[in-house]
């Protein structure tokens, strides 16, 4: 217990809650890709780093292609929306989340950058999504008369 408390609160650079306090010009590259350390992960690493600290243009073109394709899928889903019934809405939300993550993680370099930026942006995303979802739920289900 005591050690857990130390780990939470201590400030020598090992605590969980520490904000880093040393210079970090080097990005913290993930040693493995999102798909593991096998050959796919290696390809990922070569693509995203290409020997330098940031991704190369080729990779950015690839992300751009990905964004365009997902957009096309979204529009296609919209077109066949009648077939899917109500299901196309969650699908669309998931796809736009993918695009969102693509831009934030790669175009905005959040994946290659210092964690603190992720905390700053992520904290407001979490609070925002939480409270506005709660608000929508309240207004959607709150006013129903009791049975």
């Amino acid at each position: 217990m005591a050690s857990l408390w130390r780990k939470l609160t201590h400030h020598d650079g090992n605590g969980w809650w520490n904000l880093p306090h040393t210079a970090s010009n080097e990005p913290n590259p993930p040693h493995e890709g999102p798909i593991g350390g096998a050959w796919l992960g290696n390809i990922w690493r070569i693509m995203t780093y290409g020997g330098v600290s940031h991704a190369g243009p080729g990779f950015y073109w690839l992300v751009g292609l990905f964004l365009s394709i997902v957009t096309l899928i979204e529009v296609w889903l919209f077109d066949i929306g009648a077939v899917l019934g109500g299901w196309y809405i969650p699908l669309l939300l998931i796809l736009s989340l993918l695009k969102f993550i693509g831009v934030v993680a790669f175009f905005m370099h959040l994946r290659f950058d210092h964690r603190l930026f992720t905390y700053l942006f992520g904290a407001s995303m979490v609070v925002g999504i939480f409270i506005f979802t709660l608000l929508l739920l309240l207004l959607e289900f709150g006013n129903q008369p009791p049975n």
């Binding site: 904000l19 880093p20 306090h21 040393t22 210079a23 970090s24 010009n25 940031h54 190369g56 243009p57 950015y60 073109w61 992300v63 751009g64 964004l67 365009s68 957009t71 979204e74 529009v75 889903l77 919209f78 929306g81 809405i89 669309l92 939300l93 796809l95 736009s96 695009k99 969102f100 831009v103 934030v104 790669f106 175009f107 905005m108 370099h109 210092h114 603190l116 930026f117 700053l120 942006f121 904290a123 407001s124 995303m125 609070v127 925002g128 999504i129 506005f132 608000l135 929508l136 207004l139």
Partner: protein, 214 residues
């Protein structure tokens, strides 16, 4: 004051606790703030979705094919932005300037699309005063458009300084910060495109309430 002071500014040596640049942190924190701003507007739109009492209704005015094109334009401007940053960092001045200009042009095209769309809607009888859909739609997309406009002005300024040689690899951070803003405007549009256009475009008028415009 002195040449030394000016030179020093060219390669600013900032000592910060985390080693991160103050202005870049500021931009990220500001974007976090902007998340709440757009979040509240999007939430308002969703709360009022389908609450219009009179037409035109979304399915009567929203034009998905054209908006798909403008969405694609904005996505590609984001790609151009990140390429511009890459080349400016590499010190390739001409390529960097070119890609910043591409951002400016694509951003302007997007604004053009929005202008045409607004005019078309007004022509179809939808203004912010018409109904609750018009109110929420115009204010949300209008404020996003204002963000794009600021971004375009900022980018034009950076294109000029890149061309004049003032923006170089050692102060590419200026471009990076502007780029963060630009990408943020792009991700807001990603959400708007899905939530307002794709999800609401099927919101048809109730029977008997169709506008006569078609």
């Amino acid at each position: 004051m002195t040449q030394a002071a000016t030179t020093e500014h060219h390669t600013p040596v900032e000592h910060t606790t985390t080693g991160l640049n103050n202005r870049k942190l500021l931009m990220w924190a500001f974007l976090g703030s902007d998340v709440m701003f757009f979040g509240a507007f999007i939430a308002t739109y969703l709360v009022y979705r389908g609450k219009s009492l009179v037409g035109p209704y979304p399915s009567e005015v929203l034009n998905i094919p054209i908006t798909t094109v403008s969405t694609f334009v904005l996505l590609m401007s984001s790609l151009a932005m990140v390429l511009a940053l890459h080349y400016v960092k590499e010190g390739e001045k001409n390529k960097g300037t070119l890609w910043i200009l591409v951002v400016v042009v694509l951003g302007t095209i997007f604004m053009g699309f929005q202008f045409v769309e607004f005019r078309e809607f007004a022509h179809l009888g939808l203004t912010p005063r018409t109904n609750i859909f018009g109110t929420t739609f115009f204010i949300l997309t209008g404020i996003h458009g204002a963000h794009v406009t600021i971004g375009v002005i900022w980018m034009a300024f950076l294109a000029y300084s890149s061309n004049s040689g003032a923006l170089r690899s050692d102060n590419a951070l200026d471009l990076e910060i502007a780029g963060l803003y630009w990408h943020f405007v792009d991700i807001v549009w990603i959400v708007i495109f899905t939530v307002i256009y794709l999800i609401s475009a099927n919101d048809a008028p109730p029977p008997g309430m169709e506008s006569v415009i078609h």
